[in-house]
Subunit: 366 residues, 4 copies
Amino acid sequence: MKSSFGQSVNITITGESHGQALVAVLSGLTPGIEIDNEYIRKCLSQRAPVGEISTPRKEADEFEILSGVFNGKTTGTPITVLIRNTNTKSKDYNEMALVARPGHADFTAESKYHGFQDFRGGGHFSGRITSSLVAAGSIARLALKKKGIEIGTHVAKCAGVADRDFENVNEDIKSLNDTYFAVLDSAQGEKMQAEILKARENGDSVGGVLETAVVGLPAGLGEPWFDSMESVISHLLFSIPGVKGVEFGTGFGLCDMFGSEVNGSLRVEGGKITPVKDLSGGINGGITNGDVLKFRCAVRPTPTIFKEQDTVNMKSFENTTLSAKGRHDPAIVHRVRAVVDAAVAIVLCDMLAQRFGTDWALEQCG
Amino acid sequence: MKSSFGQSVNITITGESHGQALVAVLSGLTPGIEIDNEYIRKCLSQRAPVGEISTPRKEADEFEILSGVFNGKTTGTPITVLIRNTNTKSKDYNEMALVARPGHADFTAESKYHGFQDFRGGGHFSGRITSSLVAAGSIARLALKKKGIEIGTHVAKCAGVADRDFENVNEDIKSLNDTYFAVLDSAQGEKMQAEILKARENGDSVGGVLETAVVGLPAGLGEPWFDSMESVISHLLFSIPGVKGVEFGTGFGLCDMFGSEVNGSLRVEGGKITPVKDLSGGINGGITNGDVLKFRCAVRPTPTIFKEQDTVNMKSFENTTLSAKGRHDPAIVHRVRAVVDAAVAIVLCDMLAQRFGTDWALEQCG
Amino acid sequence: MKSSFGQSVNITITGESHGQALVAVLSGLTPGIEIDNEYIRKCLSQRAPVGEISTPRKEADEFEILSGVFNGKTTGTPITVLIRNTNTKSKDYNEMALVARPGHADFTAESKYHGFQDFRGGGHFSGRITSSLVAAGSIARLALKKKGIEIGTHVAKCAGVADRDFENVNEDIKSLNDTYFAVLDSAQGEKMQAEILKARENGDSVGGVLETAVVGLPAGLGEPWFDSMESVISHLLFSIPGVKGVEFGTGFGLCDMFGSEVNGSLRVEGGKITPVKDLSGGINGGITNGDVLKFRCAVRPTPTIFKEQDTVNMKSFENTTLSAKGRHDPAIVHRVRAVVDAAVAIVLCDMLAQRFGTDWALEQCG
Amino acid sequence: MKSSFGQSVNITITGESHGQALVAVLSGLTPGIEIDNEYIRKCLSQRAPVGEISTPRKEADEFEILSGVFNGKTTGTPITVLIRNTNTKSKDYNEMALVARPGHADFTAESKYHGFQDFRGGGHFSGRITSSLVAAGSIARLALKKKGIEIGTHVAKCAGVADRDFENVNEDIKSLNDTYFAVLDSAQGEKMQAEILKARENGDSVGGVLETAVVGLPAGLGEPWFDSMESVISHLLFSIPGVKGVEFGTGFGLCDMFGSEVNGSLRVEGGKITPVKDLSGGINGGITNGDVLKFRCAVRPTPTIFKEQDTVNMKSFENTTLSAKGRHDPAIVHRVRAVVDAAVAIVLCDMLAQRFGTDWALEQCG
């Protein structure tokens, strides 16, 4: 029943879509990390809705850091980020309060909270909640940058359109972090957006696949049982609304290959042991091997659609139909990208702190 | 750095492939659950190697329950299961101690444990460790059975050969729990085994996909943040050696569909709200919806193969080659099936205990 | 490195004495608990400084509930309480930044945070931080009240003056919850306050002992290992600034008695087994026995005093002396009382939720 | 409901007084710590009953290390210690199964486990369970010794007789670790033992106070909230059967002193800041200050006595009387001493690992 995750570095998030505010608490981060407000804003803007492919609800996402930062640097004590909700149209949700949206958390929330949940805009289940996570995660990323660790995520597939694969990972990551619809091949990105618009016109929604690469990680992070790197990363990813699949390296594709193809080899390069063409995403036995960390996650089509659907009235227990009203995204995969970046940053800070201690971002690691 | 997982119901496992013994501690289970030793043995035998498609190392897997059971029933205090290793041929591993197997944990263990790890047979990273998890999980399954909750897993794909999908889930689960190479279509199972043998002849290995269904779960289990049902299930699954992907419901396949296809609908049936044709695997917003829980996991080809591979000597830091010696599995997917059943049972007991309290398996729940 | 505590019900607190704000997150509380803002304000005022025996710094302690409450009731999702700092005079602390106060956390914070900590007013180590804990705890107390569980704490001793013991516990608790300097014998309370004033005049400070009683708890809460009721209560109490001792029942006094005196007896009363004259504070073997829960905690004299003390300059590494400036309490024991009430309320909600499930405050328990 | 404690270093214990065996799992300890079996045996013998002042039940306490040690050194993966029960006379407990011992856990266990608990010899609530904790703790102490950290505990008071205070702490600790009835003044120890025998003759029991000192700890361990050093130490101490009070430094005695007396001073000594005459037990603001860590715990008189006591039959719900039969200790304080040493060692390893990372015992810390 905790709303927290992590051991040495820990994240807590709270809030509802149409509530007062969203709060994130990030604790255990190394003291002395310089806060870059521009960077936090940039990360938040990559989660924000853009253009016609997103909900018309635009939130300023003005954040306030309430604690844990002093003279522009982290203190080592818990960092609190506050983002107020400003643009809420709760009356759109009056009808939907009792009529559950199929595929959404309306019915499961009712099962768990007996009708006391804040149903407006999905309440605590809304993707809106992820904005404070992104703010906290961007601070974690500032710590990682001090150790040369960089994260980049692209929309590998959306509405049936595929982006190109990572090639020069370092440069690809750099380019992704300057884009708002994150693709490596911008022509493919255009096609994806066209498909999203088409879905919107049909009152429908589409999903996609995100692929993430992390460079600069040392070998030796993670546990054999039960906190493998895959375990802790997937734990956090699967709590992001809409994520329904996670795979590392070639993932499900490995199942159609032979061991000899998957294993790759190990080579000594520059006095260091390095995996070559290992398809397991930079993790063997649950522990990082020093290679690029790579994973993908599947983001389902948003459940709230304008098309009429069969559903029930949760109070009267009668069958009925629903066409969503209000402001909704025909796709969220391109926005979830910023949440994945933030989530993995927090997990990595935690694993580094567990391995190297509280001061890992100040001292030599790996 | 914990070797434990779970909050209200908690699992700890220890041991090494060629060490003295494997131990599992299962704590927090409802008192009064009758222990069925035959059932535990059956679950263990489903993890054991069978015939020519497995390693020739056969372990008796005689288990001893050291604590937590009194007069044949669980006491409510921690249950300890001990399984001694009896059939170890450690000398096979002498050469491999310093020469890392590509794709295996040899190199990452060295990075983390500085050469102090028990390298024999993969040590603490070996699949052998999962036998105590299976024993503990089978006790958890006995508790679930009291509430009508049943779990079944089949090899949905292996070496390119696909099993049929779940049809009548209740009956399919029952039939799976009586098989040792768990498929729904036995003809496809024969083909899979033929492919495994072919890989073995080539000194190679193959992987596969496992699909699991759980019936009888109430709606309302799981948390919005950060302990979604997907999060906690995937956390445990990804710590099983070889698992590289996890997806719920249609998973990655959802990304090529429209929201209107994925959502399904909600209907009132028998005075109860029920999801119909919802493709999200029985979980919406991280919380069970009362539908069949469904997920798949990808199991990579076993890394230890007899084919020659390029690798390094971790002491001399020289490039070399390696052809594995000893006794190894050309595929483990059919054995991992028993581990997945056990793991999900433990997670479900934990989520039920968090939701309904310690005595959930004694009283009315849901 | 977490700033959180608790399993099924969990508390997180953040903030600094002179920072922007104090935040508490209380998660896992049963949905449907009615919020009583007057009650929260009353609890906060019992922590607030009063009259001449306290610091002249007066904070409005206006709280804002940012999440987790909808239509005046808890939703079951995390509750966030925000209290802004308004009356900070940080310049008083300029000198003290580098010159460590003996007995305070100035030097230990420097050892841990390398000078990045917010030193103003004790920063994250200040008793000020406890205000959000009190707000959160008062909401937990509202849940307990629904089950007939009431908590009361009195200043059992202060500056050598002793209060009378609990007599009629139910009535004593009621009377304590209406007082601001909580004693059972008001004449003794007057004497205590006179001693506090005398200490203040000498530029010195005094400590005291708090004694707490809880009525209405069912038997059967707590764990044999490692979450005994004593363990979890003391864990939270010892994180309150100034607490240096915790004892249950007759505590240290038990050591001078015989087993036959300590044990008391068990009797059947009204069809229920009831402990009689058991001196162990309502807990046997780590588990509540249904008797009144009783414990005491020792609160040390406040370390910040106006008397000159020998100390060091942490930057120049030179010996020096310090006479505190600014606004400080000559005693905090009477204010800590509200923090103890809050802390034990949160722990009890957690133990009840672990035992009886999420909905414990809605349904029949015990 | 966990039977585990600790974050980076974690302990799990299981077993019952008359069950098959006792098991401890210690995970997260730095790899490469040399195992000294003689030392483990010595620590176990300090917990074992001695002479006429203890129960006549003598257990060999032969331990077997089942995992986590390879070539005589810790591997970094979980260490499992097994101790078989060999000398159990369960029939002594037949009468006591239903007739609850006042002051003992018999009734509270019944409340929690509904009669399914193993009642023989106190089952999971027995002090016998602590033997595996002592074995695990002695391994933790071997790691601490590598960093010059030493722990010593003496019986500061027993049956009204007081030992002398610590004087030369380093030498006192050394002398304590070679004794079985741990006092600093052996003449006082003789008097204590005489009092214990007298109590035994009266069919009664006595308690005592243990005082512990730890030398060699660096400043900077512990958290402001909620894992203060006092919090985590007391959490583990209060789960030891019989512990009813814990105080740090002068503890409850601080309440009768002035701040100016308690604070002591800070001085620069040898280029290092050092607390002088600080009475808070080596901890300020929850964080170690580099001074000797000092705490005391109160151990109640053993509840199982031969004197007749009023009690109830838990099945028939009738009042009755009980005179204990079987083999019982008239005092346990001198045996608990070994458990306290073990418990604090485990907590300190955890706090060091959290602060300095997994390899803290290999590298320079503090």
